[in-house]
Amino acid sequence: MFKFVFFSFIFHLSLLVAFKLEIIDLKKNEQQAINVNLSLEKKIIEEKPKKKVRSDKSAREKEKPKKKVKSDRSVKEKEKQKKDMKSLKPIIEKSKKEIKSNKPPKEKKEKSSSKDEFDDLLKDLAKKKLPLETQDSFDKKLQKLSEQKLKNSNNLNKKILNQNELNNIEKLILNQIDENWSRPPGIKTTKDLIIKMIVRLDINGNVIELKIHKSTMNEINRNNILQPYLDSAIRAIKKASPFEGLKKDRYNKWKELIINFKPIEAR
């Protein structure tokens, strides 16, 4: 029961973080998401040896050197995290492997123990003095949490920065389409006419896919006088390809775009 509450708490917490981040930065989301996943993994990694502390002291002693390796690895992981967030996935896999490798043969028995036992374990843990290594890892965890807090406090600034960055990407793309959109003048249009298109770009800014939104297709089928607007919009995107000036390290932000052509007649 406790396990379920614990995990659902983590899940909801991660949901909350995720939604907060969505407004801030899309790529950031991905990084944070992996961070959250990692911390989840670590909790599990750290919890499992604790179980051993209670069940078999000798086994714990034998495991000490293994733990050291693990904690060293976790430091390395953090460094890697900072260096390159993209390489986090393999790390997750690594840590998963670690969990498996760290599992003592008695693990199965542990797993089969009752929920009350698990509760007791947590209570005992609270009373007991933690061994040095565990203390270290807790310190690191604390440090990590404080870093996380610091990050969050900086989020407001980053939010503005990221919004600026998004605006810049938008502006860059808009300008390139605008100057290539030779629109047919004087067509009688409906007020809310929107030519909506979904564009996918490759890392070099080349248009690799161009889809016309269903609503636009319906509108054109109803009133084929609007076909020239669609033609001109497609031409504009194809002429603008490849889009220039887009930062490759921000590819995730601009790899897919929704372009709405809104021909306003009265200017």
Binding site: F7, D178, G186, I187, I198, K238
Partner: protein, 440 residues
């Protein structure tokens, strides 16, 4: 462990979803500039076919360039053999010279028949966007066939009917030291087949086409009294419409061609009347002591727009065309300056007008409900707007200074206020009216 995997999966899924929200960009401006078009010479085999090909090339090039919507790319810049394009263009080569569209075709003379295949290619979409076969008699007018080809291209690119087979009437002015002659002239929209319809003895003004393009209503100052005349273009026969005691002005046909609307001046005030052509019955539309003039029907024949000074200065008013004289007209113009010569668009969306404000002249557009007023042309003197049959281009009279002399000419402009272009006329020209398509 299973739970954990499930949660992880959920979280990853969630983030994947969040991450895939793409940037949305609204493009509203764009540029209005002529579209670069490559017009290739149509493929031929015999000498006869070659002559036809050259002529069609010449007329189509002229039509599309004249429209102001296209910029023709010189054939010397082409990288691909013109003959091959008809079968399959090398789109990359054409995009290198910035051709957005390619016109290609093939001509076949089969005994007394002339077969023309026309293909329009979109270079950036790498797509054939129009393919049409035209079959006509060999001795048919080539100019008409070429105009039909231009219309097809224009229609595919703009979504609206072309006007390359239309005619214009205008007042040709000849100034001598002590005399000014004003005659009605008719010509194809591109200046060809020019002809004078009146001899110039009496001053003629405001010629207006009938909806079928066969007749012209105009005002003539014979006997120094302005009178509305009806002229048959083919037979050149004319007759006086409504011989009234007062002076009649500004005649215009109803969209069904059955009535003529005009204003009649009596004792210092002008009012609007409709005359039924089949029985000469007269219906009075306005009845007051002001100047009510320049009436024009809406294309659905349900409304009449006119200018009136009942509010102190000239403004635009609309009234239902139901013969109810007692019903008050609704004012639609509220801007500064005075508004005159309203003309309803054949599309029905706008009313074009002339505006004078602080000694400047403007051509503007306004909607029936008085909204969306905008100025599309201005100059030393701009007046007499008239619509193209497709309702997206206006023709108007513009007077400008050249070497300290005032020159009157006819200009066309798109309803967005772009692509202003001077039309070629014989001598000075004013008071133009754009006629309907003559071929279909």
């Amino acid at each position: 462990m299973i739970n954990l995997k499930l949660y992880l999966l959920l979280i990853v899924f969630l983030f994947k979803n969040l991450h895939s929200t793409p940037i949305e960009i609204d493009v509203t401006k764009g540029v209005i500039e002529p579209l670069p078009i490559a017009i290739t010479k149509f493929n031929y085999k015999s000498v006869k076919e070659k002559i036809i090909s050259s002529k069609i090339f010449e007329i189509v090039s002229n039509d599309l360039s004249n429209s102001g919507l296209f910029r023709q790319i010189a054939n010397s810049a082409f990288l691909q053999n013109e003959e091959e394009v008809f079968f399959q263009p090398l789109f990359r080569d054409w995009s290198l010279i910035d051709a957005n569209l390619i016109v290609s075709g093939k001509i076949n003379i089969d005994e007394d028949k002339l077969l023309i295949n026309i293909k329009l290619w979109d270079v950036y979409r790498e797509k054939l966007i129009l393919s049409k076969k035209i079959e006509v008699l060999n001795n048919d007018n080539l100019r008409v066939i070429a105009h039909i080809i231009s219309n097809l291209v224009y229609q595919r690119v703009t979504g609206e009917r072309g006007y390359f087979d239309t005619r214009l009437v205008y007042i040709a002015e000849e100034k001598t030291a002590n005399n000014v002659s004003k005659r009605i002239a008719i010509m194809d929209y591109d200046g060809n087949n020019h002809e004078y319809l009146t001899d110039g003895k009496d001053i003629a003004i405001t010629p207006r086409f009938s909806p079928d393009g066969k007749k012209i209503a105009y005002l003539s100052f014979s006997d120094k009294k302005p009178t509305v005349y009806l002229l048959d273009i083919n037979t050149k026969k004319e007759k006086i419409l409504g011989n009234f005691s007062g002076m009649s002005f500004a005649p215009r046909f109803s969209p069904d061609g059955e009535n003529i609307i005009f204003s009649l001046t009596k004792k210092g005030s002008s009012n609007i009347f409709i005359q039924k052509l089949y029985n000469n019955e007269i219906i009075q539309i306005t009845n007051n002591r002001h100047i009510n003039t320049s009436p024009s029907f809406s294309p659905d024949n349900k409304w009449i727009v006119f200018s009136s000074d009942r509010s102190g200065k000239q403004n635009l008013y609309i009234k239902r065309n139901n013969g109810d004289i007692s019903k008050k007209a609704k004012r639609i113009s509220y801007g500064e300056g005075s508004y005159a010569t309203p003309v309803w668009s054949p599309r029905g969306d706008y009313i074009a007008f002339t505006k004078t404000y602080r000694n400047k002249f403007f051509i503007g557009l306004i909607k029936k409900d008085g909204s969306g007023e905008r100025i599309i042309a201005t100059g030393y003197l701009t007046e007499s707007p008239s619509w193209s049959p497709n309702g997206r281009t206006l023709i108007f009279n513009k007077v400008f200074k050249l070497n300290n002399k005032l020159i009157s000419s006819i200009f066309t402009i798109d309803i967005t206020g772009n692509l202003e272009k001077k039309l070629d006329t014989k001598g000075e020209a004013s008071d133009p009216d754009w006629g309907p398509s003559i071929n279909y």
